[in-house]
Amino acid sequence: MEQSHSHDYQQGASGVGADTPRVGVYVCQCGGNISDVVNVDRVVQATARVPGVVVARQSSAMCSQAGQNLLIEDIQREKLDRIVIGACTPSLHEHTFRAAVARAGLNPYLYQHVNLREQISWCTKSDPEGATAKAIRLIAAGIGKARKLQPLASISTKAIRHVTVIGGGISGLRAARDLSRLGFAVTLLEQSPFLGGRIAHWHGLYPTETAARDLLATLIQEVEKDPNITVVTRAEVIETSGCQGNFQLQVAAIPRGVNRLSAEESRAAIKACPVQVPSEFDFGLTERKAIYLPYEGCSPAIPAIDWKACTRCGQCVAAVGGKGISLEDAEERLTIATGAIVLATGFDLYQPYEGEFGYGQHREVITLAQLERLLDPQGPTGGSLEWQGRPVRNLCLIHCVGSRQIEGVHRPGPNGKVNTHCSRVCCTATLRAAVEIRRRFPEVNVFDLHQDIRTYGRGHEEYYREASRLGVIFIRYAGEEPPVVSASEADSSPLVIRVKDLLTFGEELEIPADLVVLATGMIPRDIERLIEQLKIARSEDGFLQEVHPKLRPVEMAVGGVFLAGTCQAPMDVMESCTGASSAAAKAASLLAHGTIELEPFRAQVDPNLCQGHGKCVEACRYQQAIRLVEVEQNGRKAMRAEVNSALCNGCGMCVPVCPTGAIQVAGWRLDQFEAMVDAIVAEHT
């Protein structure tokens, strides 16, 4: 790992170390934001008396040019070597003041920020006296800590201009293309043999009604033609090491079994295969061969062999005269050195359990995904709406299957939890299907059973309006009392749904149904191996968790890992693409300069105290940030903890577990905390 201390801020200079620190205290009025509540005069008077304080001043706006100049002049004239500023939140101006301190020739980490606005004046408006006392204590604590501050240097690490995108669905394709256009080399890893992911199943996408496979074809063509992008299908990441800027990925790639075949040869090979298995592409509505192409126009347009289903009978090989097909399925290993990772691993569709709304018990109960295949003009029925050979007259759509579940009402999933999250896209997708059915098959009665209609996006509500206009009958059930699907005794329709309708004053309704369609939600995908390797976090609902939903929406807490699309949360194609593009932009800005600057607040090991217990290694949440290394000490070999500053996030989990107190986080050392606590409990006049 290449690291260097890039900035040298007069370390050891400016009286740091030997002499008593000379502290400068500045209290910002923030144009009345602080001074309207806090008596700034008294704060300045009180803090001026704290030991070590050489200068104590106030300013109407410390962040202004005048305020910063005042600071710089004081540092130089009064030979200040510790600065404390009481102002707004550090997320707004900590960097501003650090830069000013650095301009004055002082190490920028000899600066301590105190938040007087968000933490005092804004939230303590009714008690100016208390607010002033609190401000004095917090600034005193800041002074206490500042006196113990040591100069630090930011960390710089090398950044490889290469990004690995995991997942070849719409998000992964979009991220790969965007990164390539920004000038980065990209490796796109796809688990299945074909690109395109989920959206290839749908023939129409809301709200534009674009044909999904046309959209995909354009994007895949751009990706495949792009010399900067390497696509690896049937790939799985099996080992990850390194850190942001320089990851090493071990990738296992399973061969597709087919190298090069003409379209005609492909057809012959597929025809020759004697194995039939349910087609994933049609959600089990049709069957495919062990050597297969999922759909007409898929990409790559080369068949793949399903090794689990293949019996190695060799009939396909014989059908093409022995060329182009190899039944050798040994996986290949690739090593990829990459600067950043974009996760675009997608979602899984909720699979209803047997008996959930009659699923698996009645053949007439299907999922929305299966209905989409039935409606597809290129689908298994050629787009005609018939089921089990009979035309559908009454079709019933049930929303929120596997989403917005209620504990105690719904059966928990394999993880022991119910899915309380809303899958967001199913409402509009369901209504889109309802509209399409009423338009194409006006003789079909469509019933829509929902808890709420959440058509939240631009152009979504129009589907609800159109469905209403076209006479779709809406029925609202309570989450606690879901509809009950059972066999009908009447001849007209095989199923009957009984539901208490909240829109009809809780009246129980009987709805005849030839086809019941469950709008199954999105659930987090099983990517446990990846999560384990990258040590990344899931949120409560099991989807991958960003650092902050608003401020850092596509970044993971682990540096250099970004989120694109539905691995993060249920979202539609438009949102997935937005997420993918911003993940690409974030990855690009991380790697753009060839080096990555990191804050110096990382764990540090005191080699004199460390006894090599290894507790810190166990407590560490980040892959390989701390490890035990063998060192020679006084002629004897011993194990000692070593921190990789690029991987460490400075979280401090290692500090309390160390039995000898050998590990500390720079800039947040325990003696600094003690000084703060002492100052807070001390008397201030």
Partner: protein
């Protein structure tokens, strides 16, 4: 008991006027703004919901459509332009055809051909009666009672009144059995029927609930129209032998006739103009049944006053001819409209309030009974 849906019902109601109710998202705005909707009898949302689902039994049991006077506030404030006001109107039309057991009402409401043919046949029958049985035609002076002897006309009046009244009564009984349920109707004691009779009479003459609608002028206009109509009915049925006279002299009783005719002409004329202009919510949507009712009433009044004018002017032949025309319009109007058409709302509106009063008395009694049914803790 669970309700069976009829998703095709909306097509049926389409034919009765309104088709916007599919846009309803059941927000209940209409019920909130309605000045007449109450907690126990809330509308229009409930009725629109029944229509959406095709719950015909529920609709038949509902007196609510007859409690709406179509001020149009709900339609104007509906956030989805689902037109609740016109939906209620369409349901009233549909209910009229359901109360009628002959099936003729349905034909007249849905088919202009049936309606016009029926009117024409009755008119032809009236004309034929006069052609065959009219008295001597005196031309040197007006002798209306010679041309059409008052006793015979009076007899015809009563035949018509009893016949149409009976048909309407059967419809009313059917309406009662829907709204109260047949089992209940059988069990209701006579005293209860009688004790609430006041409600029926008061609302028949005053339509006073309409005053709670936000357009008060429509209420007094309607009360005047009804007073004119009832006055005229009284004159031509109960008092015909004094009302229909010979000669060109003028009498005090004619004052009543003027009042009735004036009011009828003015307000039916105003309604026709309103429907042509389509400015007020109540007049925006006109069904065939609205036009025939208004036009026939207007022409009846017009020909009635013409008979009077010709008689006073001493014009014998015009008096006789206009008289025949007058009856050839009035009689078909009554035959087609009273039991089978829009006229019947005169009966159904007060009847709905009457039945509602009885129903709430019954429910009070049932609640009281169920309370006494609770087993008392026995002293152990």
């Amino acid at each position: 008991m669970s309700q069976k849906l009829d998703p095709q019902f909306h097509k049926e109601l389409d034919a009765f006027g309104c088709h916007d109710f599919t846009q309803c998202m059941n927000c209940g705005h209409c019920t909130a703004v309605c000045g007449l909707s109450e907690n126990k009898v809330a509308f229009p949302r409930k009725i629109i919901r029944y229509v959406q689902l095709g719950l015909k039994d529920k609709l038949l049991k509902s007196p609510e459509p007859w409690l709406c006077y179509y001020c149009g506030d709900c339609s104007q404030t509906c956030p989805r332009q689902a037109n609740p006001g016109e939906t209620m109107m369409s349901v009233r039309r549909w209910l009229t055809t359901q109360y009628d057991w002959t099936g003729l009402a349905r034909k007249f409401y849905l088919s202009p051909l049936w309606e016009v043919t029926a009117l024409a046949l009755v008119a032809a029958f009236v004309v034929a009666l006069f052609l065959l049985f009219h008295g001597p035609i005196v031309t040197d002076r007006v002798e209306l009672n010679t041309f059409a002897p008052v006793v015979w006309v009076e007899f015809g009046d009563w035949v018509l009144a009893v016949g149409l009244g009976s048909l309407l009564l059967i419809n009313a009984i059917r309406m009662a059995s829907f709204i109260l349920s047949i089992e209940r109707v059988r069990k209701i004691p006579l005293t209860l029927w009688l004790s609430e009779l006041r409600t029926l009479v008061i609302h028949f003459f005053t339509q006073k609930r309409w005053r709670d609608c936000p357009a008060p002028t429509r209420w007094w206009k309607h009360v005047l129209l009804v007073s004119g109509y009832l006055t005229m009915m009284l004159l031509v049925i109960g008092m015909l032998r004094w009302f229909q006279t010979n000669g060109s002299h003028w009498r005090v009783i004619d004052l009543l006739g003027y009042y009735a005719t004036g009011v009828l002409l003015f307000f039916t004329g105003e309604a026709i103009l309103g429907r042509l202009r389509r400015r007020d919510e109540i007049h925006k949507y006109s069904h065939l049944s609205d036009w025939t009712f208004l036009i026939l009433l207007f022409v009846t009044s017009l020909t009635g006053i013409l008979v009077h004018v010709f008689r006073l002017a001493g014009l014998a032949m015009p008096t006789y001819v206009t008289y025949v025309v007058h009856l050839a319009v009035a009689v078909p109007m009554l035959v087609v409209e009273v039991p089978f058409g829009k006229w019947s709302h005169l009966a159904y509106r007060p009847l709905a309030l009457y039945l509602l009063a009885i129903r709430s008395r019954l429910e009070e009694a049932e609640a009281a009974v169920s309370l006494t049914d609770v087993p008392q803790p026995s002293p152990a």
